[in-house]
Symmetry: none
Amino acid sequence: MPKQTRLTLGEFLRKARNKAGLSLRDVEEETNVSNAYLSQLESEKIKQPSPVVLHKLSKLYGVAYAGIMELAGYPVPKPLAGNSMLHARVGRLTEDEEDAVVDFVELLRSRRRRQGRQ
Amino acid sequence: MPKQTRLTLGEFLRKARNKAGLSLRDVEEETNVSNAYLSQLESEKIKQPSPVVLHKLSKLYGVAYAGIMELAGYPVPKPLAGNSMLHARVGRLTEDEEDAVVDFVELLRSRRRRQGRQ
DNA sequence: AAAATCTGCTTGACATACTTAGCACATGCC
DNA sequence: GGCATGTGCTAAGTATGTCAAGCAGATTTT
C-alpha cells in the first residue's frame, strides 16, 4: 500500500520557485505579490491564500493550478482529465517514485528541446 | 427559451436558495456558514468568499461548483485525477512521455524489488 | 391581542490574508 | 577594506472574510 506523504503547499511552492531559478523578488516583480507574503506562504504561515494568487504562481512556475488548489485545501471540480491514464497504468506513485519520475520527465524534456537553463 | 442573463454571485446564490426553498437559517444549519454572512453574500457585500464556502453552497443547492467559482471571479481549476501531484509538478504528459514514464516506473520497481544496486 | 417564532438584516468584534518598511546576512565590485 | 546590491525574513499596519448577538417586520399560535 503506497504511502502518500504529500508535500505541504509551502514546500511545494518553494521547490517550484527554486526549480524555476527565481528569487522572491523576481516573483514579486512578475506577479505583483509581495516578496514578504511569498516568504510567509512558503514557510506555512498562510493557510488559505487566495485562488487568484495561486493562479498567478501556477502560471509563472508552469505548474498545474488545480494541484496547488488541492494542496491549499480547496475543493477542486470533478476528475476527468489529468494524467489519469498514467495512473491507470502504474497505479499510485510513492513519494520517492514521484520524485524520480519528476526528474525523469524533466530529463526527457530538456533532452528533447535543446534548452539549457537552471 | 429561458433567457440567460448574467447574474452576479449574490443574485445567483439568492435565487438558488429560494429555488431550494431554504431560509438563511436553514442553510446555516446545513453548512455551518452563519446566516449573517450568507445575507452579506447575497447582497454583494462580500467580494471573494472562500472556495470552501462556495463548495458547501454548491453542494446544498445542487449547482455547479465551477460555475460559482467563476461568478466569484476566481480562475476555475481544470480538474485533475490520478497522480495529481505528479501532474502538478510536471504538467500534462504527452503520449510518448507517458509511455517512457511507465517503462521507467516499472524499471524502478523491478530494481527495488530485488534490492539491486545498479 | 399577546406571545412565540421565523424571516432577513446590521453592527461590532475577531481572525487572517496581504502590504510596506526595514533588518541581517551574503555576494560582487571599486 | 568598503560600498552597493541581492537574498530571505520579520514586524507592524491595513483590508476584508467570517461570526455572535441582537433588531424589526411578518407570520403563527394560544
